[in-house]
Symmetry: C2
Subunit: 439 residues, 2 copies
C-alpha cells in the first residue's frame, strides 16, 4: 500500500490508508492507546485497540519521536472530540497494523513536543538536530525557505541572472582583517567575506546579477546580531542613473519578498505571533538628517557622523511613528565609514551609499560603485591601500564598465526580525560563532 500524506486523510473518511511519521505523543486511556503521528504535511490521531494484538503490542513500545508506519481506517471523530487546532482534527485513524520503523536511542535530551517548550538557546543549539523538530523552531526555516524562493523569483522576473562565485580567494576581499585563512594545497587562501568583486564583474557580462550564497566573517563578536557564517542575498545592476535606482530596485524586491512571506507563511507567522506590516513607501534619510532627528527627538548625540546600534533602533522607531514604516533607508554615509569602491557624492566627504534598516537593525547595505578605472585607482590610494593588491579586481574596470551599484542583504537577520527572534542564531540552521562549530 502506498503512503498517504497525513493532510490528505481528511478527505478519505471510510477508507483504509497507510500513513508514516514521527510519534509526537502517546496517551494511554484505559485500554485504548492514542498516538499523535506527524509527517511533513500535518498531524493526526491514531487509535489502537487491544483487539489488534500485534498493533497494540507495538503501540505499547512506542515513545516520542519513534518513527512509525500505520495502516488503518480513517474515521470521523465525534463532534465533541474534534480538535480544531490541527488540520486533521476532524478525523482519526483506527490502526489495523502499526510498524515501528525507527526507535530513539536513550532518553531524548529535550521535550520538543511540550506546548510550553521553553529551553535556553545554548541547549536548543546543542541539541539542534532534535530542536529543529519543535514546531515553532521548525517554522523559522519554512520562512527561510520562502525567503530564498521569493528573492530568486523576483530577481529573475526583473532580468537578474543568478551567478555562483568562488568562496576561496587568493586575497582578502576588501583588504580588511576579518577573513578566515585556508590552507590551499601549498599556499594560503581566504574565505570570501562577500561576493562584492565578482558580482561587480558580473555587471560586465550580464548587467544584472544576483547571488545567494554563504558569507564568512571572522568577526570575534558576541552579539545577538552576528554570526560568522551567514547567507548573503546579493545583487548588482548596471546602467543606473544614481544610487536611487538601486534603492528603488531593493525596495521593490523587499516588498515582493515580504508580501510573499505574509501570504505563503501565514501559519508560521501566526505560530510566532508575528506580522508583516502593510507595505509603506520606505522613507529615505541622509545619515546627517537621521542624526539631527536622533538628537532632537530622542536627545541622543553621536560623536562625529556615525550611528550605533541604539541609534538604528531609535531611527526605526521614528520611521514607524512618522511613516508607519518598519523600514528606513539611511543614505550618504561618510567616506571613512565606507569601502574604497564607494562612489563619492557631490560633496566628497560623503558617499552614494545606503543602509536599509528594518525593525531596529541593518538588514542591507549598498550603494553606487566607482566604475572608472582611474578614479578607482586614485580612491584605493586615498584609502591608503595598495592598488597592486587589487590587480584582479581592477582588471574588471579596464574592460569598460557602466555606472552600477547593488546591495547585500543578510538572510538570517531578515528572518530574525520578521519573526521577532531574540538572537540571529535562532534563524540559522546550524549557526557558527566564535565558540560554536557543532553540531
Amino acid at each position: 500500500m502506498r503512503r498517504t500524506l497525513i493532510k490528505d486523510t481528511v478527505d478519505l473518511v471510510g477508507q483504509t490508508v497507510k500513513i508514516a511519521g514521527w510519534v509526537s505523543i502517546r496517551r494511554d486511556h484505559g485500554k485504548l492507546i492514542f498516538i499523535d503521528v506527524r509527517d511533513r504535511s500535518g498531524s493526526v490521531q491514531v487509535v489502537v485497540i487491544p483487539d489488534k494484538e500485534e498493533a497494540y503490542a507495538a503501540a505499547k513500545e512506542v515513545r516520542g519521536e519513534f518513527v512509525v508506519e500505520v495502516e488503518g481506517l480513517v474515521k470521523e471523530r465525534p463532534g465533541g472530540a474534534a480538535n480544531a487546532k490541527i488540520n486533521t482534527g476532524k478525523v482519526e485513524i483506527e490502526a489495523e497494523n502499526l510498524n515501528i520503523l525507527s526507535r530513539t536511542e536513550g532518553e531524548l535530551p529535550i521535550d520538543i513536543m511540550n506546548p510550553e517548550f521553553d529551553v535556553n538557546l545554548e541547549t536548543v543549539l546543542e541539541h539542534r538536530h532534535l530542536s529543529l523538530r519543535e514546531p515553532k523552531i521548525n517554522a523559522i526555516f519554512r520562512v527561510f525557505d520562502q525567503l530564498l524562493w521569493s528573492y530568486s523569483e523576483f530577481m529573475r522576473t526583473d532580468g537578474f541572472v543568478e551567478i555562483k562565485t568562488p568562496k576561496i580567494l587568493n586575497a582578502a576581499t576588501e583588504g580588511g582583517a576579518n577573513f578566515f585563512k585556508i590552507n590551499y594545497f601549498d599556499r594560503e587562501a581566504y574565505l570570501a567575506q562577500s561576493p562584492q568583486f565578482y558580482k561587480q564583474a558580473g555587471v560586465g557580462f550580464f548587467e544584472r546579477v544576483f547571488e545567494i550564497g554563504p558569507v564568512f566573517r571572522a568577526e570575534p563578536h558576541f552579539t545577538s546580531r552576528h554570526i560568522n557564517e551567514y547567507i548573503g542575498l546579493d545583487a548588482e545592476m548596471g546602467f543606473i542613473d544614481s544610487f536611487e535606482d538601486v534603492m528603488d530596485e531593493l525596495e521593490k524586491t523587499i516588498q515582493y519578498v515580504f508580501e510573499s512571506i505574509a501570504k505563503k507563511c501565514a501559519k508560521e507567522l501566526e505560530l510566532h505571533g508575528a506580522e508583516v506590516a502593510p507595505w509603506m513607501k520606505i522613507p529615505r534619510l541622509k545619515l546627517t538628517e537621521a542624526l539631527e532627528i536622533m538628537e532632537k527627538e530622542f536627545g541622543k548625540k553621536m560623536e562625529g557622523i556615525d550611528i550605533d546600534a541604539e541609534g538604528e533602533r531609535l531611527i526605526c522607531q521614528w520611521a514607524k511613528n512618522n511613516n508607519e514604516s518598519d523600514f528606513v533607508f539611511l543614505t550618504h554615509y561618510p567616506t571613512n565609514l565606507r569601502p574604497f569602491y564607494s562612489m563619492p557624492s557631490a560633496d566628497p566627504q560623503y558617499t552614494e551609499t545606503f543602509d536599509l534598516l528594518y525593525r531596529g537593525v541593518e538588514i542591507a547595505s549598498g550603494g553606487q560603485r566607482i566604475h572608472d578605472y582611474k578614479q578607482l585607482v586614485a580612491n584605493i590610494e586615498k584609502h591608503h591601500l595598495n592598488p597592486e593588491q587589487f590587480k584582479d579586481y581592477l582588471d574588471i574596470f579596464k574592460n569598460g564598465m557602466p555606472p552600477h551599484g547593488g546591495w547585500g542583504l543578510g538572510a538570517e537577520r531578515i528572518v530574525q526580525k520578521i519573526l521577532g527572534l531574540s538572537s540571529i542564531k535562532e534563524a540559522s540552521l546550524y549557526p557558527r560563532d566564535v565558540r560554536r562549530l557543532s553540531p
Copy 2:
C-alpha cells in the same frame, strides 16, 4: 529620457529612444560610422552621420567594449541590409547624441567579438572578466542559471524544503583526506566536502530537503572533470521503500531540469551546437552487469568490481546504442567503494547505492543511507573508523529517523556535458584548481 532595452527597439520604428550598452564593433564606411551596441537583451546597429558633430566626434573615439549611451531615431533597415542573425536585424538607430559612459584601459588582451574566437582555455581563464562577455562563453552561464532555477522549481513542487547548511565544520565530514583546513579563531576547522550529514539531519525535521551550495574538495587532480570548488545540487528524502525511490525521484528531477533547459535555453544550446536528446526512461544496471557488458561488448576487463573513466564512457555508449538514452544508472556498488553510511544490500558485499552517468561521466551519486543508530555505529567500526569522531552525526540517529536516501549532483558537470564543453572549468564562472585561485 528613460533607457530602452535593445530588444524592444524593433517595435519602436519612427520613435526616438535612448539605448545603452557595450560597443561590439565600430566600422567606418566612408563618412558614416556604424557601431554595433549590445546590452543584456540584444544587439543593434547604430549609424552616426557627420552632421551630428558632437555624436560624430564621440563615435570617432569609440573602441570595442567602450560603454555608450545613444539617443536616436529607430529606422527600418533597407531590405538588403537587414541582418537576419540578430533579433534587431530589421532596424538601426540613427544617432542624435552619443555619450561615452566608460572607456577601456590599454589594449584588450583578447578579441571577444571575433566570430572565430578561438583562444586556449588558460588564456580564457586568465582574462575571465572579459572572456565571460564572449557570446558562446556567456551562454554557458545562462544555461547554468536555468539549471539552478529549474532544479529549485522542481524540488519545491515535489515537497522539498531548501536548506542552507554550514560550510565550516569542526571535523572532516566523511572521515576522508580531501578537505581544506581553516584557521577558525584559535582552532582548526574544515571546509565542507558535502552537505551529506546535515541534509540527512534535514530528513529528521523536514522529511524532504534540498540544498544548492558550494562544495570544497582538496583533490590534487589535474583532469578535465575535476575542480576544487563546485556547486552541489543535493537532495535527501525520507520514508523511502528502497533506493529505487531515490532513483525515481532523481529521474523525474533530471527530466524536468533538462526539458526546461531545452525550452528556455534554445538559443544558447544552438550557439554551442548542442542538443538535449528526447527523454527516454533511464536504464538501470547493476555495476556487475555493466562490467559484463563492458567485457562482452567492448573487450574491456576491470580488475575487481570497479569502473574507471573509460568504463563510464563505454557504458554510456552502450546505453545510447541500446536504449537511446544519454543517461544510465549504475547500481549496487561494492561496500569498499562507498562511504560507511551506505545501506548494505541483501548481499552485504554490495550497497544500495547508485551513480548516474550522462554522456560518459558521472553527474550524480546517491543511495539509501543507514537510518538505525546501532547499525550505523557497527558499520562505522566495520570501516575501521572511530564512532567517537562522528558523535554529532550519530546524534541524528538517536532521535528516530525514517528510511531515507538522496543524491548529490554536480552542477558544472551537467552544464559541461549538455553543451559539450571539453573541460569542466569552462562551466565554472571563476574556476578553482590546484594552481588557479585567480581572478
